[in-house]
Symmetry: C2
Subunit: 367 residues, 2 copies
């Protein structure tokens, strides 16, 4: 397998089950690939993180050559001849192109040569890779993509944001359990407050799906999380809940509407500072304040979305990720290996086995 030329580190030597965590990074995922991936890998490696860049060796080396002294860093290359694009049909692409950079990342994890897979590419294909290569954790029907949105003082973890558009009650119950583990892990919340996204806070609101899930969660004995009932869109970022659970269609819309609103306000704010010299002066004085605000609004700063519910670590970055975003994601992936994110989720699901069994028996929601 090792096709490394003399100056590239050997990925087999880099990663071993006893050594430090090593992340398999799909170098051909992002919109501007492989530039951001290589920049991110180098930046992370300088901080001691071990990375295997997966993809076309020649192109990766060309990018790496722009970074003086990279060959002294814990960065390796693993050649993969093909790529999966944003336009590809996920499951078909993963099946027909086993040598593409994305599925090869998962293979490296399966073989014990890496400990987590990371890509800024096609999220549907990432889901397919997770299902085909890692398999599901016992008790999980469908994995979920989770991301964290800012609140006034902290964060709220939202799931599913796109892995499953048509959900059954058992899926949302599993999302609640997994989301709570994630909020505890990512943001250090002791007993996460979990809400169910709805169109109103009254119990009569919601769809057949949400009402079924509400009944299950409200009556269950929960460990390590508190179910607080329905939350409206308005309350999602108020700081009153740590986790918001919804189906992947609604969650994806919610996430993207929040992004769109942030962008729109940023655009208006810029425009408001262009109304003459007085405003330009104000803008100049407030430049540091606006820079802070921009950073808070930047979806990239929110890092990688892990795929929860598969038996292995996989992280999906924004297609428009910068090198900085990739480096941040690599750092988070490393922490997830070190602090055993997957085993924690497996354990929480086992603890709630009775609830999950009841949820599986619950009538699927008709719409």
């Amino acid at each position: 397998m090792s096709q490394s030329p003399a100056h590239a580190s050997d990925d087999e030597a880099l990663a071993s089950s006893s050594g430090p965590p090593c992340i398999a990074l799909d170098a051909f995922g992002s919109d501007q690939c492989p530039g951001p991936e290589v920049d991110g890998a180098v930046a992370a490696a300088k901080a001691g993180i071990h990375v295997i860049l997966v993809g076309d060796r020649t192109k990766i080396e060309a990018e790496l050559s722009r970074h003086a002294g990279w060959d002294g860093l814990p960065v390796a290359i693993h050649h993969a001849s093909e790529v999966i694009t944003m336009e590809d049909s996920p499951a078909k692409a993963v099946r027909s192109r086993p040598d593409a950079s994305m599925p090869v990342c998962f293979d490296l994890v399966r073989k014990g040569q890496a400990h987590a897979a990371l890509s800024a590419g096609n999220s549907g294909a990432m889901l397919a890779c997770g299902l085909f290569k890692y398999k599901r954790i016992k008790g999980v029907d469908r994995p979920a993509l989770v991301t964290s949105l800012p609140t006034r003082e902290g964060w709220v973890s939202l799931l599913d944001v796109g892995a499953n558009v048509d959900c059954r009650p058992v899926n949302l119950v599993q999302f609640a359990v997994m989301g709570a583990v994630y909020a505890g892990f990512k943001h250090g919340v002791a007993t996460p407050r979990v809400g169910l996204l709805s169109n109103g806070s009254e119990q009569t609101k919601g769809t057949e799906l949400t009402r079924t899930v509400h009944g299950l969660l409200a009556e269950a004995t929960l460990e390590g999380l508190e179910y607080v009932g329905y939350v409206e869109g308005t309350d999602t970022m108020s700081g009153e809940v740590d986790v918001v659970v919804t189906d992947g269609f609604t969650g994806n819309v919610a996430l993207k509407i929040a992004e769109a609103t942030g962008r729109l306000i940023g655009h208006w704010l810029k425009g408001a500072l262009r109304g003459g010299p007085r405003r330009a002066l104000g803008g100049l004085i407030l430049r540091p304040a606006f820079a802070e605000l921009r950073q808070r609004l930047d979806p990239e700063a929110y890092g990688a979305a892990p795929l929860l519910g598969v038996d292995g670590l996989a992280f999906i970055c924004h297609g428009g990720s910068s090198g900085f975003a990739i480096a941040t994601a690599l750092e988070f992936a490393t922490r997830s290996v070190d602090e055993a994110l997957t085993p924690r989720i497996t354990k929480a699901l086992a603890v709630h086995a009775d609830l999950l069994a009841a949820a599986k028996r619950a009538e699927p929601a008709r719409s």
Copy 2:
């Protein structure tokens, strides 16, 4: 019916089918009722709009007495002894309390004593009143609530934002036709571009429901609107579409997430100006710019959401509406009477009768 004391105008005299449009305003809808309703009615009446305040006569008169000279304005009182609250179960409340201020507004329209009903109260009860009292327009399965969100340079009309959580294909097709009429009416768009909200722009994305609707709209011959396909949350406020169609669950979440994001950014912006004297100075200089921004972000400024698809005019305001918001809504309701919003919708639905019949035959989406 007239129980007016000497100083209150007579609502029968105020409204007649040949006279100017007259709006029946539920005085007991908003969170702070009846203050904002009375303030709004007086402000609108000063601009020549005819209003009947519906609700407890004594309480309305007490509020009106704070406005010197109100009895010279085109404002009348129609007594209604009961109220419907936000906590009430909509259909049950409307059936069991026929004398509540909200349903009485619809009765006044039915009897020809007013031309539109307006309330800042329980939106589910407004929907129930619309269905029970006005009935549906021919060809309409379920009415929809529509609201407009700001874009970079203009507006986008979003529907349904809460009337129907569980939708079938025919509902979304009707929303597309009605939404286009509304965007033309409200924002003067000649041939509105209509998009279908989804979790991705590719045709393979979406739910069974959206894929069915996409197939119907993409193949139909449409008049007065252009169907542009799937739009993601990110594109909703980009200005590339004039109408975004979705089910009432997703639409409600989308609307409230946009509001929540706006509020969160406003909160951060305030905080950013509190970091010492330099920032305070910048904030002072930019006060007019921030005031402009606040106005753009203010959901109240976006006015009343009409209930489309019932055979009569009904407008729902935000529960937290101020007098200014109520006055703006009264003005818009009056224009809707003058410029025949309901007949325009009836006509557009008739023009698309074949499409609606095909949509009715389409398989309901399973989830």
